[in-house]
Structure formats: C-alpha cells, structure tokens
C-alpha cells in the first residue's frame, strides 16, 4: 500500500500547474455577441414550463401543463386557435412567435423552492429557455421569479395568489396575470356581509407560507372592517395531510366562522376534516356555523366532493363564464382533453399568449423589450373582461369572481356557481398599499 506523499516542492509545482491550467481557458474568453441571454438564433424558440408534477399541488400542475401544450399548439397555428381569435391584440397570427416555431421543455417543481429553482436553472442553462412560466405555489413562484431576475429571462407567473409575488417580492422580469389575496378579500367581503351578517367570530387555519400569511392577513383586514372579530389564527405546515388535530380546537373556541386559508390538496383535506367533525351542522352564538375558502378552484371542489356545497370563495376564472374568450378556450381545451379547464389552466394559457403577443409587438425576445410591451398593456378577450397589466408592480387588474359550491351539480365539472362578478374598480389598490409595500421592482435584466 503506497501512501500519497507530497513534498513541499511537489505541492508547489502541481499547485502552479493547476493554476495555470485554470487560467488557460480564460484566454479564450470572448465577449459574447448576444444582446440578451438565450437569444434564439435558429428557427425555433424555447419556452420553459416549470410546474408541480408531484406534491400537494400536483393536480393543478397537470392541468397547467395541458394548458401550456394547448397554447403552444395554438401559437404554432394548430388546433382551432382558441383565444387567439378573441384576444383584442391581433399581433399573433399562428406562425409561432416572431416567425419562430415554439418548442418547450418541462420540469417538475415538486412544490419545493429548491427543486423549482434547480429545474428552472437547467432549463435556462441547458435548454436555452427564453422564458420560464408556471408554478402553483407562491413560495415557488417567488423563488423562481428571483432566479429569473438574476438570470435575465422573463418569468410569467402561473397560479400564485400571494400578495408578495407582486408585492414585497416583485421583480422587473416577473409578471402575474392571476389575481391575489387582497383582491380575493376585497371581492368576498361584501358577499360575506350580506350572507352572514356583520357580527361574526372567525377562526383562521392558514397554510404556513407566504401565500397563507398574506391570504389570512387580507381576509382578516377585510372582515374586521365589516365588524367581524378574529378569534385565532393557527398556522398549519404545507405538508400536513391530517387536519383533525387542528379542527378539534375550533369546536371550543366560540368562533362561528372557519376560514380555511388552504389550497389544493390541503384544502381538500382540511375541509373534509371540518365537515366530518360536524362543524357545518353546528349552531354557535345562535347562528349557523359557516366555513369559507377564500381561494377556490374546480379541482379542489372535485376533490372535496359533497363537502363544498354552499361554501363561499373566490376564483380567478371559471369555465362556465359566457364571454367569447372563455367559451373559445373551454371549447378547444375540451375538444383536446375531454373536460373543461381549471382556473390554473386558464391563467397559464393566458400568460403564454400574453408573452407571445408582447414579443410580437416588441419585435424582440429581449426581456427588456417584452417588459416594456407588457407594462401598462390594456387587453380584452382572454376571459376576464378588460384587463390592465399595471406597470408599477406587473400585476394584472381584472374582475374577480365570487363563487359558491353548487347545491345540485349537474355533472362532475359543474361544481361551482358564480355568485357575483366583482368589478375591477372594487379590487384595485395603490401600488404602495401597506400589504404590498417593501419591495422594489428594480431594473429589467437581459442577462448579459
């Protein structure tokens, strides 16, 4: 057995050798000719779809991926064109983006910030993705948005509802079409007031991460403005699957409303547990005990089954909307996959179209050009009525839907009924609103 012996001289020599070896490649360093990172030079342009394929939001992720595939098909001129035909901007003509065929790569965020960033990084570095989109958790969206800002590509947020995404964590390279927690609360409050009165005691169960916190804060503010009292706010870890230990204390808390600031699989489990504990049949303070789910989706409603009947919540979009854009989207989605799309699918589809349209109008894939084209952009025909992409925080402003679990669903998809379409003016807020303050948009970064 020979030992690895190093003399001082030998170490110096090899050290110098390694140093020289490392220095050699720098001689060849040429200043890169590209104007921005991942500039597409061939006949194709690559988009990166980074969605949760495992974890509590996997259902949403799967639906998002379907929507992306549909959007790519429509951009490349396939299918019936979907919302391209109803979109108010007519820059897109179905021959890709700026004449380049759209291709895509996919990745699994695992609903974890770390994994999502690694996946997005490999899309940017290896596959040359010019834009990253997706995410079905605000924690992930915030993390990936930060990465895209550093790397110099555009991030089109998918389903992310936290105030922070376009609030304290907003970034110049990031854009969000989806609504946010503040808007949910602003839309829900009047409906809650007229249905449940102004004298209520609310108990909050909140998913313990950025979305849950801002959602809870927003609802608490809005309901306390009505005169409601907040009894307690209990944080539950995102990975929780059994909520019975969290529901039991609600029974003796004196609260008569339970607010579930949960989404996806979390909400399905916590709502089911709440119903099993007989909360909905209870009478507290002489009133019926009520449950509220501030952020609703059809996928969640299906997961929770019977339990959602009569429960109020808000949603970004619903397939039963009768406007042209929504109908066109539901038709082409339904033809391709055999069932109607979820709100996650809708926002992802819209984001892809908005990105493509911005690139087309800007005449470049340069993130700075695209940001400029999107900032202050007014459009219609993507399903939510007239919409504004606000320049100050890259948040879309549009009507918000207040929905309720249907009492007599006619099919497994017809689970929610739209109670009210809250007009855009009612959910608007100033960019420096206290719930959104603290962050800085910064400068757009083309990465070079």
């Amino acid at each position: 057995m020979s030992e690895l012996k190093t003399s001082r001289r030998g170490l110096l020599k090899s050290g110098a050798g390694i140093g020289a070896g490392l220095a050699v490649p720098t001689i060849f360093t040429a200043s890169s000719a590209a104007a921005y990172v991942n500039e597409p030079t061939g006949s194709t342009v690559t988009l990166g779809f980074n969605v949760p394929q495992s974890g509590p939001y996997a259902d949403e992720g799967a639906d998002e991926l379907r929507a992306y595939e549909l959007a790519v098909e429509h951009l490349n001129g396939g299918g019936d064109g979907g919302m391209l035909n109803t979109f108010s901007s007519k820059a897109l003509s179905g021959n890709g983006i700026l004449g380049k065929q759209v291709t895509y790569v996919t990745g699994d965020t695992q609903t974890k910030s770390d994994a999502a960033r690694a996946s997005a990084k490999s899309m940017i570095e290896k596959d040359g993705a010019i834009m990253i989109t997706g995410g079905s958790s605000s924690g992930v969206a915030v993390a990936v948005q930060g990465l895209c800002q550093e790397a110099g590509v555009i991030f089109m947020a998918g389903l992310t509802h936290s105030n922070d995404t376009t609030g304290k964590d907003k970034k110049a390279n990031g854009f969000r079409h989806f609504f946010n927690a503040y808007m949910s609360a602003a839309a829900l409050a009047p409906v809650l007031s007229s249905n449940y009165g102004n004298d209520r005691k609310a108990y909050h169960l909140t998913a313990d991460y950025t979305w849950g916190w801002t959602q809870q804060e927003s609802i608490q503010n809005a309901t306390e403005a009505l005169g409601w009292e907040t009894v307690a706010n209990v944080l539950t870890p995102l990975a929780t699957t059994d909520f019975s230990s969290y529901i039991a204390p609600v029974l003796n808390s004196g609260a008569d409303v339970l607010v579930l600031n949960h989404y996806g699989g979390n909400m399905v489990n916590s709502l089911t547990a709440a119903v099993q504990f007989g909360l909905r049949a209870r009478q507290v303070n002489g009133k019926n005990f009520e449950i509220i789910v501030p952020l609703y989706s059809r996928l969640m409603a299906r997961g929770a089954g019977e339990n959602v009947k009569g429960i109020f919540g808000s949603t970004n979009w619903h397939w039963s909307l009768q406007d042209e854009g929504s109908q066109a989207f539901v038709r082409s989605f339904g033809e391709k996959y055999g069932f109607p799309p979820s709100q996650a699918a809708h926002t992802c589809y819209a984001q892809t179209l908005l990105y493509a349209d911005a690139a087309e109008r800007a005449g470049t894939f340069n993130p700075c050009g695209i940001a400029e084209a999107l900032e202050g952009f007014e459009f219609d025909g993507l399903g939510n009525g007239p919409t504004l992409y606000r320049a100050a925080d890259h948040q879309c402003f549009k009507d918000v839907l207040v929905v309720r679990g249907k009492e007599n669903p006619t099919s497994e998809f017809d689970l929610l009924e739209v109670v009210e379409i809250t007009p855009r003016s009612q959910v608007e807020y100033a960019p420096d609103h206290p719930m959104f303050a603290g962050g800085e948009l910064g400068q757009c970064n083309p990465g070079v």
């Binding site: 030992e3 390694i18 360093t29 490999s122 290896k126 313990d208 991460y209 995102l238």
Partner: protein, 391 residues
C-alpha cells in the same frame, strides 16, 4: 473492495483531478455540461465524501446529515444578507456553524450506536427541518426560503457592488468558455471550478484520513467497537471527530450550494435529503474513496436529466416506429421518466445493491479485472482499455 485503486493512491488522485478539471468536456456527450448540474456534481460529491468518512469508516449510519447541509446554506445566505455577495465569508461561517451543530448533535447521538444512533440523528434533522420550516421563520423565512432582498443591509457591499455571488469580482454564474463537443455543448463555468477546487481538496483530505492511523482507528471501530473498548481505548473521541469532520463537509457543501444560488430552502434538511446522501454513498460504494463521488454524480444526473424527459420527447425518440408500437412504448416508458424518475432510480438502486454489493465502483473494478484477464489472453487489446476507469 477496489483492489485496483488502493495500491496506487497517487494515480487515483491524479486521475481524479484530471477528471474533475475536464468535467465540462467529459460530461458534454451526456448532455450534462451546464453550470447548474456540474456544480451539483461537485457539491454533492463533497457532501457524499464527507458522509463516507463517517459511514464508510466507522460504520455509523447517520440519517440526518442533510441538517448540516441546510445549516451551511442558511449561514451562507445570512452572510450574503449582512455583508456582501462575496463567497469567502459565507463559506467560513457555513463551516464554523455546521461544525458547532455537528459537535452538539454528535456529542449527544454518539452515546448510542447502531440503529439508535441512526434514529437519534434522524430525529435531530427532522426537528431542525420543522424548526426551519415554521417556528424559526424570522431566521429562515419558512417555506419561501431565505433569500437576499435589495433592502438587506449588506454592510460591505458599497455603492455599485456586484449583485450576484462572486469571489472578489469573479462571478459564480459566469460561463467563460463554451463550445460544441461531440454534438453537445460544453460550458465552462467559474462556479463549477470554484466548487471543484473544494472537491479536489475534500478528496485529498479524505485520502489522507483513509490512510492515516486515525482512519485505521475508525476502521477498527467499524469492525468491532467492543474489542476496541476492551483494549482500553476510548472510542468516543474518534467517532466524534469523524462525525464533526463529516458534518463540516456537509456544511461546506451547503455553503457552496448557497454560493451558486443564493437561496436556502428548508426542504434541504428534510429526511429525504438525508436519505439521498445515504443512497449516493451506498450506490457508489461505501467505504471506497471514489465511490461516493460516483454515486452523487449518478443520482444528480438522473434527477436532472430523467425528470425532464416528457412524453413529447419520448414520441420524438420513437417516431421511427409504427404508431401503435410507438404509443405502446411511450406509455410504458412514461412511468419511468418525468415525475417517475424516482422509479428508474429505485430500480437501478435495487439492481446495484443486489448484483454489485460494493456499489458502482465494484462494477468498475470487476469490469477492469475482467478486461485485464481478457487482455492476458489477447495482449493486443490491452492498449484500448486503459482509459476505462478514468471516471
């Protein structure tokens, strides 16, 4: 074990250094030559080498090593937040803090051995994960992950400081050279070489420990701790030293992870992450020098490449087949790629453990011996096979 390598550490080390330095070229044909993955190869290589010092030498199976990785990451990001994006203070703090945690956890856990030790370390790691995830949110930023904001103090940053991690101006994410190699792009990146220097250093120290009297002592503990105790030796200081050393390796790896991408998430400390390094070490070959690095690269490669293959990619691969057959094959393979990559990894892991108990390195050695014996019969073939164990 690897009889081939043991006899010649110098050759092994030289080959290792060359392989690491040429990493971007060697990995290019596999489509793995891009900064993020190469950095992961190096960083998780360090992590696994460190784990192997504990597990491979003393036989103590720690199931909570990811805790140190996480602690290292959090310390590093805090240095970015407080001082500047220079990586040196970050790594120093990462190493110090992880050493302290390792000392504390090791001191308590090493009172027991075998399965009890594993459970204790697992409990500590899970505790730290839970704390980071919720209770310690002010320090760890909970599920969102700790990241650097523009309004953080960053006292050493100055007016127009660099806003990404760097080593005295050399940016970690800069690619300084890229070219086509065998049809795939090879990307040379500063961050990778920075991590690679630590990997080489870590490997060198690991060789020295393996060959030292200290290493011998650790092996003695592995083969029979009772006998060591009966001879009048106190084995605790030795195991604790090994535990702290491997904890420092993990902390260094965590710090490096944060240096490449200044974000630290709590899931870095989850038990699955702890399990991963155990897998890496066993898959590569526990107790061997090179095995852990091999195992780490193998797992990271699968995670990055297989998880990105989707049905569309499969369809293009098999488009030459008739439609029905194509769809059939894609349907079967669908379960093994994309989100199903764990299934592929699990299958491979089973195959390796059953047929190559010494890990991948065992396989390489067997192949090497087989080829050597083949060469004895037909000496003219020897020339072409010399390069095979380079990786």
């Amino acid at each position: 074990m690897s009889a081939v390598f043991k006899n010649n550490d110098k050759t092994l080390f030289t080959v290792f250094v060359l392989a690491v330095l040429l990493g971007p070229i060697l990995m290019a044909p596999f489509g793995a030559s891009y900064p993020d993955l190469l950095q992961r190869f190096a960083i998780f290589g360090i992590f696994a080498i460190g784990f192997n010092i504990l597990f491979g030498l003393t036989g103590y199976l720690s199931f909570g090593h990811a805790a140190f990785l996480g602690v290292g990451s959090y310390s590093a990001v805090w240095m970015f937040k407080l001082l500047s994006f220079n990586v040196i203070p970050a790594l120093i703090l990462a190493v110090i803090v992880s050493a302290l945690f390792a000392l504390l956890i090791g001191y308590i856990s090493l009172r027991r051995s075998g399965i009890y030790f594993s459970i204790l370390t697992l409990a500590f790691a899970e505790m730290m994960y839970r704390l980071a995830y919720s209770v310690l949110t002010p320090i760890t930023n909970g599920e969102t992950g700790l990241q650097v904001y523009s309004d953080d103090p960053q006292y050493l940053m100055g007016e127009n400081g660099i806003t990404t991690t760097h080593l005295f101006g050399i940016k970690m994410n800069d690619v300084f050279l890229r070219f086509e190699f065998l049809g795939r792009e090879a990307q040379f990146n500063f961050g990778y070489y920075f991590a690679a220097i630590f990997l080489i250093l870590a490997f060198y120290i690991s060789i020295r420990i393996f060959r030292s009297p200290f290493g011998m002592m650790l092996r003695a503990i592995k083969s029979n701790q009772n006998r060591v105790n009966y001879t009048g030796l106190n084995s605790r200081p030795y195991t604790l030293a090994a535990f702290v050393i491997s904890g420092v390796y993990a902390g260094l790896a965590g710090g490096l992870l944060a240096c490449m991408d200044p974000l630290a998430g709590a899931e870095r400390m989850q038990w699955t992450a702890s399990g991963e390094v155990v897998l890496m070490t066993i898959l590569g070959g526990a107790g061997t020098l090179l095995g852990p690095v091999l195992g780490a690269s193998f797992i990271k490669y699968f995670e990055a490449i297989f998880s990105k293959i989707n049905d569309n990619v499969l369809h293009t691969w098999f488009s030459f087949l008739p439609d029905g057959l194509e769809n059939g094959i894609v349907w079967v393979l669908h379960f093994f790629v994309g989100k199903g990559w764990h299934l592929t990894l699990g299958t491979l892991f089973m195959l390796v453990v059953i047929f190559l108990p010494g890990g991948l390195l065992d396989g390489v050695t067997r192949l090497f011996n087989w080829v050597k014996n083949l060469g004895k019969k037909k000496p003219e073939e020897e020339q072409s096979t010399k390069a095979s164990p380079a990786e």
